[in-house]
């Protein structure tokens, strides 16, 4: 039983690391704000959830799991809100239009 738990935890953590790497790659790969926001959100949601799940499986105590769940809920709320604010700013400023007007500078 311990075994299976350990292996599952390791799989979760590895997937979290892979997702995080994809998110970082996307942030540097894309040029437009909203695309980058979308890529960064992967790291804030899926990678975070998988990493937390791995930690919970590794140390299977009740109170530790509750704490981790609270952390995950907190970060899910705040990261979506920050994405929303970035989106509103982009909508108000309209960087693409500004770039066309000024010639990419």
């Amino acid at each position: 039983m311990e075994w299976i738990k350990f292996i599952m935890a390791v799989i979760c953590m590895v997937f979290a690391a892979v997702m995080e790497i994809i998110a970082i790659y996307g942030v540097y790969k894309f040029k437009f704000v909203m695309n980058r926001m979308h890529a960064a959100a992967i790291g804030d949601t899926l990678a975070l959830f998988l990493g937390a799940l791995g930690l919970m499986l590794l140390r299977s105590s009740k109170w530790f799991s509750y704490k981790i769940i609270i952390v995950v809920i907190f970060l899910w709320m705040t990261s979506s809100i920050s994405s929303h604010v970035i989106m509103r700013m982009e909508y108000n400023i309209d960087t693409k239009k500004v770039e066309e007007e000024t010639g990419g500078k």
Binding site: F74, H84, R88
Partner: protein, 322 residues
């Protein structure tokens, strides 16, 4: 005959009477005012005003930029890159050479393993009453050092105020109008989340401060958590609502009184220690919330100081005033 009340006409019963007698068509007045149009108009006016001010400011900037071309500055900028690279390279080489001469980490003969460390670890809980040795160390044994750190925060906030505080006049008006020029003004999503999160953040910060002598945490970390909560509240609801409970007057009172009380607590320690007297403040049983003498109070004062400084930095950089 009973006497009629002076405000009988507006009471509930009189309205019902009027309704029954057919004098008044509506039982209640229309409560929801239709002022969204008005609000939009005022918003637009504010925005155009802000745009005008922005243009004025940019023009002034352009005039300033074109008026005095400095030869010295140009030469300085050319030299600046070269000198900066040289200084950084020499610093790096020097530090790396120093590191190579350091003793290896974790050896028993290192100068870090001496009587002082042993005493902190073995007698720390007994002497300070704090379960968290780090808090007992920085607030009791090395209280002087921490007092200096708190003063550094105070001086830093004062310096930022000297540089960024806008006293009065046209400039103040313009900077207050620019405060959230492009930002969403009353975003309902942020506000609902802030309703939910800000109390939780405050409570967590207070918990970290009060539990500073029992678990990891203390004044500095708890204060910065509370400051972050204040910043979130401001970015959701604006300065008008924040000034109801945290304005410049309260900032001054909280900050200065926290520093003064902190110095009072520490001078008690210094006086007693320097004259060789016993500490008369009971330490309590280690592990309780109210224990470890003055450390709890010092934590609270440090937390107030740090929270005020965090919020002041944010407000000053954003609009040039508290």
């Amino acid at each position: 005959m009973s006497k009629k009340r002076s405000d009988y006409k507006t009471t509930f019963y009189s309205r019902i009477e009027n309704y029954v007698n057919g004098k008044d068509e509506f039982l209640f007045h229309k409560e929801v005012k239709d002022d969204t149009v008005h609000e939009l108009e005022s918003l637009e006016a504010e925005l155009t005003e802000a745009a005008d001010l922005l243009e004025k400011r940019e023009e002034q900037q352009r005039i300033q930029d074109n008026s005095e071309p400095h030869d010295f500055l140009k030469r300085f900028h050319r030299l600046y890159g070269i000198i900066a690279t040289l200084v950084c390279a020499t610093l790096m080489v020097l530090l790396l050479i120093t590191v190579s001469w350091l003793p290896r980490f974790g050896e028993a003969a290192n100068p870090a393993n001496n009587v002082v460390t042993k005493r902190y670890i073995e007698k720390g809980e007994e002497e300070t009453g704090a379960v968290n040795i780090v808090t007992g160390l920085i607030l009791n044994y090395r209280g002087f050092d921490t007092m200096g750190e708190t003063h550094v925060l105070f001086v830093a906030a004062s310096c930022v105020m000297i540089l960024l505080l806008i006293a009065e006049g046209e400039e103040k008006k313009s900077s207050y109008a620019f405060d959230r020029y492009l930002e969403p003004k009353n975003d309902i999503i942020i506000q609902k989340t802030a309703n939910f999160l800000v109390p939780a953040v405050f409570i967590f910060g207070i918990y970290v401060i009060l539990n500073g002598h029992l678990s990891p945490g203390g004044g500095f970390s708890g204060g910065s958590i509370i400051g972050a909560g204040l910043i979130m509240y401001v970015s959701a609801f604006g300065f008008k609502k924040t000034e109801r409970f945290f304005n410049e007057r309260i900032y001054k009172i909280a900050k200065v009184s926290a520093l003064c009380f902190y110095i009072c607590c520490l001078s008690y320690y210094f006086y007693m220690g320097a004259h060789g007297y016993d500490n008369h403040i009971p330490l309590g049983t280690p592990g309780n919330i109210i224990s470890s003498g003055l450390i709890l109070f010092i934590n609270i004062f440090v937390g107030t100081e740090v929270a005020c400084t965090m919020y002041a930095f944010y407000a000053l950089f954003r609009k040039g005033g508290l």
